[in-house]
Point group: C2
Chain length 448, copies 2
C-alpha cells in the first residue's frame, strides 16, 4: 500500500465517478480557515512540507486498488481507471512560517479534477493540525517575551507523529529546545531535559539523587526540587551545587504549586547561596495564558517548559478549515447553503502594511503597496524549489511577527486584523450567487 | 534507529544514571488518571495493544546510542551501559475496552528500574491519547441511543496515525463504520462514505451529480443535499432515487443548518415520494452533546456521522494521566508536594456491583463481591496471551457499559462513581507520608 489509502472513502468514489464521466479537466481547490479560534489574532502557516512530500510521492498502485476494491466490496477491475494515477498538478501556497488571517487561502491546488479531489483528506489533515500547533507555539513565544521556551509535549500528544511535529513546529517559531530525542536528532534541534520525581523517589533523598545525577552527567544539570517540599528542595539543590562547585549554566525546576511565588522564594535562596547564575525553569500545565501571567507578574523564571496544552493545542485542537472547489474547467463555483458560503475563483492574497490584507483573484494586479503571499511551490507534481530549511521558516515567522499590529499579538482577547475582498472578487461572488439562485435552483442544467 | 528514540531525553539521562549507580532493582510504575475531564462519567481503557507491541520490540541498539550521544553532546562510549537494553519486565493492566474510574491504575509496569523508566514517554502517550478518544467515542454511542454512529474524523485528527486510532477506537466501542480507507482495511471495519459539495459543484446541478454517482456506484448510494438549498436538494434526491428505482438502503446526507428541523422536512419529502426506507444521515460538527440533543428531540435522523470533535477529543484533548513510581526495591514510595500526592505500592482494583470499586494493594484478598480489573498481560517482556481482537474489546466494553449506573452514562453533568481506597492502602499512604515528613524532610538518608 502506498500513501493513497490514507484517505476518506468518498474521495475514492468521487474520483472514480469523475474518471467514468470523463470529468478530468482542471479544478482548483482552495484551503483556508473560515474563522480563527477564540483568543487567536493570527495563524502561522505550517504543514506545507509534509503536503509536498505526500503529493510528490502520490501514486495509486495495484495494492491500493485492491484495498479500495476490498473496502467497497467491488472487484479491482471496477476501479481500474484509478490505477497508476499520480499527482501532476500545480500547488500555490503561503510558505511555512508566514502569518495569515482568517479567510486567506493557505494553499491552492490546481490539477485534473480526480487528482485534486483524491488528495483532499491528507492535505487538510496536515495543514490543519500543523498550522494549529504552530500558531499555539507562536503565542507561547510571544507570551514569554524573550525568555526561552522549550517543548515537553511528547507524552501527551496524539501519537508519536504528532509529538514529532510539535517539536518541529515549536522550533519553527523560536522554541529553544525540545525533550523529544528523535525529533531533536532528525530536525537538528537542541535536546533538553531534567529529571523526574521518580528519580528522586528511587534514591529516597533529594541530596542523594542530585549528587548521583551530577556524577553521571558532567556539565550543567537541572535539579527537580518539588518532590517533597519545594523550598527545602531548593535549599538542598543549592547546597549540592555549591559543594560540587557547579552553578553557572545549572538550573532548578519547579513543576507544581504557585510557580510565581515559589520562583521568588527559590531566587532568594539561590542568590543567598551565591548562585546568581543558576537559572529557574518552570513547568507543569503551562500554556501561553499561564506564561503571560507569570511574565507580567515579573516572576523570576528564566525558562518556560510547555507541554501537554501546547502539543494538543488544548483550547483549540482543530481549526475551522476547508478545502473548497473554487473553479472547475474555468468555471468559478461556490457553495450557498447555510452560513458557509465560499468565494469562488482562484485567488491571491496581497499583504499591505499593518496587515490590511486584500484577498483578490489570482490574475488581479497587486495594489501598489501589496505583496503577494501565495507562491508557486509545485508544478506538474514536482517541487519547484528545494525543501525549505526550518531556519528559513523561522526567519519568515520572525519577520511577519515583527510587522504584526500590537493588538493581534495580545494573548487574551486580541484585536484580529481582517482581510478585505477585492472589488472584483466581491463582484464575482455576487454574480455566481445570482447565477446559482436563478439557474441551478431554478432547475436549469447548464453551468455559468 | 529503533523505537527507543521516541522518548523524552530525561528518561535516557535518568536510566544512564541508574545504571552507573547500580540501581537496577525492581521498580513498579503505576499509570492512572487523577481526575476525569468535565462531563465524563467514566473512561474506556485503550492503547494497551500499542503499548505491548512497543515493549515487545523495545531494544536500545547501537544506532539509538549514537542518537542519544549526539543529542547529549557526548561520546557513544559514555552511554555504553544502555546498549542492548531490552524490556524484560512484567505488565499488569486493565484490558482494552473495560471501563475504569479516576484514580484506578490502567496499567502497572514492574521491571528493573532503568527499563521501567525508559518506556515511560511512549506508554503515557499511547494510553493517554487512546483512552481519551475511546471514552469520547463511547459517549457518542451512548448519546445516539441505538442509532448507528460512523467516524469521519481523518481530515482533522492530529496526523494520520491519530486518525487510524480514532477509527479503530470508534469501532471498539460500537461505531458502525469509518470513512478511513486504510483503517477500515487493516482493522476489518466497514468503510462508509458519501460525496462532497465539490462533487455537486463540479457537475453544476445536483441532479446531474446524483445521476452520475449512481451510474458509477451500483448498490446503495448516499446523496448530499445541502450544497445550494437543502429542501430543494432533498426533493431532487427523491426524484432521482425514484426515477432510478433506488431507495431502500440509500440515504440523503444533511451537513449544515438546523439538522433537526431539516431532518423533519427531509423525512416528509422522502415519505411523500414513497421513499420510506431511504435513510437520513446527519453530519457537520457533531459530537455527543449535539447527538444527544438531536436524539432527545426525536429528530428523524437514522445515522450520525461524527468527525473533527471526536477525532481530536475537542472538549478534553488530553487526560490528567500520570506514570508514577510506587515501589522501588520493595520500598513503597510517593510524591508529597502540592495537591498531586500519589498513593504508594503495587495495586489492584476490585470492581464491586454498581461500580463501588475498591483500589487495594496487589496482595490484598478480594472483597467477597469484588472482581479484579488488572490482569497479567506481559511477563519477562513477552505477551502472556494472544493479541486481543477488536471484537473481544468491544464485548468487554458492552458488558461494562451495561453495568454502569445510569447517572454515569449521562451525557451532560454525569454522576461520577468514585473508587474507594482499601483500609490497608490508606494506612500505607499515611505511613509513608509520616516517614517522608520525619526522615526525608528531616534530613535522614535511609529509606523506609
Amino acid at each position: 500500500m502506498s500513501n493513497a489509502t490514507s484517505t476518506d472513502l468518498y474521495e475514492v468514489t468521487m474520483a472514480q465517478s469523475y474518471l467514468n464521466e470523463g470529468m478530468t479537466r482542471s479544478a482548483t481547490f482552495s484551503l483556508f480557515v473560515r474563522i480563527l479560534p477564540p483568543d487567536r489574532g493570527f495563524l502561522v502557516c505550517a504543514g506545507l512540507d509534509s503536503v509536498l512530500d505526500f503529493l510528490s510521492a502520490y501514486r495509486v498502485d495495484a495494492d491500493d486498488v485492491e484495498v479500495f476494491a476490498s473496502v467497497l466490496g467491488r472487484r479491482p477491475e471496477d476501479l481500474a481507471p484509478l490505477l497508476g494515477l499520480e499527482f501532476r498538478g500545480e500547488v500555490r501556497a503561503v510558505p511555512e512560517g508566514r502569518v495569515v488571517l482568517a479567510g486567506e487561502p493557505l494553499l491552492e491546488i490546481t490539477a485534473p479534477l480526480p487528482q485534486a479531489q483524491l488528495v483532499e483528506t491528507y492535505v487538510l489533515n496536515q495543514l490543519n493540525h500543523q498550522t494549529s500547533v504552530a500558531s499555539k507555539c507562536a503565542r507561547c513565544v510571544l507570551a514569554a517575551d524573550g525568555h526561552p521556551v522549550v517543548d515537553f509535549s511528547l507524552r501527551r500528544t496524539h501519537g508519536i507523529e504528532a509529538g514529532h511535529q510539535a517539536a518541529r513546529l515549536g522550533a519553527m517559531v523560536g522554541f529553544a529546545g525540545t525533550s523529544n530525542v528523535a525529533a531533536a536528532h532528525s530536525e537538528g534541534l537542541t535536546a533538553v531535559g531534567t529529571m523526574a520525581h521518580s528519580y528522586i523517589e528511587a534514591f529516597g533523598t533529594e541530596e542523594d539523587a542530585f549528587r548521583a545525577f551530577a556524577r553521571s552527567h558532567p556539565g550543567p544539570v537541572t535539579f527537580l526540587v518539588d518532590t517533597y517540599d519545594t523550598v527545602r528542595g531548593v535549599a538542598t539543590a543549592a547546597r549540592v551545587l555549591r559543594d560540587l562547585g557547579l552553578g553557572p549554566g545549572c538550573a532548578i525546576r519547579l513543576d507544581s504549586g504557585d510557580l510565581g511565588a515559589l520562583a521568588v522564594q527559590a531566587r532568594t535562596i539561590l542568590d543567598a547561596a551565591g548562585l546568581r547564575k543558576t537559572r529557574i525553569v518552570a513547568s507543569g500545565g503551562l500554556d501561553e495564558f499561564a506564561v503571560d501571567s507569570l511574565v507580567r507578574s515579573e516572576a523570576p523564571i528564566d525558562t518556560y517548559a510547555v507541554g501537554t496544552r501546547i502539543g494538543v493545542c488544548a483550547d483549540a485542537p482543530y481549526l475551522d478549515s476547508a478545502y473548497k472547489l473554487v473553479e472547475y474547467d474555468s468555471r468559478p463555483v461556490m457553495k450557498l447553503s447555510s452560513a458557509k458560503v465560499t468565494a469562488p475563483g482562484r485567488k491571491q492574497v496581497f499583504r499591505r502594511p499593518g496587515y490590511a490584507d486584500l484577498i483578490a483573484l489570482v490574475d488581479e494586479r497587486p495594489p501598489p503597496d501589496g505583496v503577494p503571499l501565495l507562491e508557486s511551490v509545485m508544478r506538474e507534481g514536482r517541487r519547484v524549489s528545494e525543501r525549505a530549511e526550518l531556519d528559513t521558516a523561522r526567519q519568515r515567522f520572525m519577520t511577519d511577527l515583527a510587522a504584526l499590529p500590537p493588538g493581534a499579538r495580545t494573548i487574551r482577547a486580541p484585536t484580529v486584523p481582517k482581510a478585505e475582498l477585492s472589488r472584483r472578487l466581491s463582484s464575482l461572488t455576487a454574480d455566481v450567487r445570482r447565477y446559482i439562485e436563478k439557474n441551478l435552483l431554478g432547475g436549469a442544467h447548464e453551468a455559468v
